[in-house]
Amino acid sequence: MNTLVIAELSEGKLRKSTHSAITFARQTGAPFSILALGPGAKAAAGELASFGAAKVLAADDAAIKGQVAELHAPTIAAVAKSGGFDVLVACASSFGKDVMPRVAAKLGAGYAADISGVKAEGGKLVYRRPVYAGNAYGTCELLTSTQVITVRQSEFTAAEPSGGASPVEAVATAPADPAAARVEFVGLEAAKSERPDLGEARVIVSGGRALKEKFAEVLDPLATLLGAAVGASRAACDAGYAPPELQVGQTGRVVAPQLYFAIGISGAIQHLAGMKGSKTIVAINKDADAPIFQVADYGLVADLFVAVPELITELKKAQ
């Protein structure tokens, strides 16, 4: 077994999701290398040289841009073939989910999406992955010699550097797919936020539709005080009270922070799927029968417009 970790870069910067894929590679016990692609890949490779990889490969090419799958997949597949890699792994971020199935199809490889665990048994890898919005877990194997994997960030704790200095090598960009000529990267509208990313935050303050137009006004001071990321329910995003990238749930971000505040969130199955792995859950809702209370460690039946400002006052006192 020889694993290739695909690093994730956005606007030339290494994303922390990469470190969850490294954790997967370490858990399999097999040697692994890391591949960074696109502008900034060389610098990213330098950052990744202290994680115990056999090699860190960099395709630092401005032509591989904008997280476009058609621009990334050919080089990933070419490196997999030339380097003899038979397990390819990335984080199940929006980048990994977009590009890795395309790589799998290119290589005729099986694909296991969004896995929550891996075990090496009798020389093969056995995966565990959530299905039915995390209401069941399936144990599965891929029946192909080359295997492509994406890992759930909340289930694979970000790897820490292990020291050493892996050799960094430049790799060439593979010839572009014909499909690449028919996709044009127009632009990235990045959410401008000083807050931690939802996938990395220790504390998350999430709000539901009940907050209405006061979503930011009520939640921002609490999030700032706690150094927290802000999340939202689907209903709040659909109604436009919060931007789509804040959505936590089965088909949005899946998170597992130390502390999760569900404020004015009723707790639909799809939302629970995205946050029930959190260590401590606090629910504030005026409906005492809301399903969110069935998963909350601490439930407060209260009007959030009164309770949240009071919470800020009490937290300041306690600091």
Binding site: S94, Y111, A136, L143, A179, A190, Y298, L311
Partner: protein, 274 residues
Amino acid sequence: MKILVPLKRVSDPDNANKIKVGPGKVETTGLEWKPNPFDEYAVETALRLTENGTNTKARLGEVTVVTFGPKETETTLRAALATGADKAIRVDATDDTLDGDLVARALKALVEREKPDLVLLGKQQVDGDANQTAQLLAEYLGWPQATFAGQITSEADKALLVAREVDGGSIKLRVTLPAVVSVDLRIVNPIGVTSMHTPATHKYSDGVRFAALMAIMAAKKKPLTEVKLADLAPDTALKIKYTHFDLPPARKAGVKIKTVAELVQKLKTEAKVL
């Protein structure tokens, strides 16, 4: 524009916490079949792209829906026909003989037969939760892909401007047709889709359209053909094998707290997370 929309029925997603597991499989007995929500959004998107929003009775293109399943899944296809799709194809198969890769390979053959300008899919099935078929199909076809679309604007049906919902924001891509697009939740917002026929000022009502009774009757007469899986994909070998399913341990409900002060106290001294 000719659009192909693959769809699938799933067990009632709002009751997914009632599923059970048997030896090597998930048991959904007692749960109603529902169309996969994302697939319903894909159908709605296809309809919006092939009409003038101010006159949704006239179809200005062709929408074909396809599902993989036994005879009874034709109900799902008829429901899509009732909302406005023109024709349907059922690929005869059962779920346990399929995986996302085989579906994508069979769809490739179907695309070569039907020659659509666009394949529109839901971004993920809410049972298997794999989020893969659109991407696999795009690669097998050698077509460009735009996944997780939250907004689509047709540029004279030659290209689509797609805003993709991604971690940390939105990525805009322009894909030249033919292409594969998978849709996200926000696509059925009032301004999610702008066809070349619809005035830019037009706003749809939020969500998917419902079929009128007359349309449900008329849908019974729309063409629905059956295709054998082996005719589309001679190699029906699967690439993934599930050996076991289990249920996660239920999270225990905690305690109700009376006051905010008590909550802060508990978080500090009991949960130790502050």
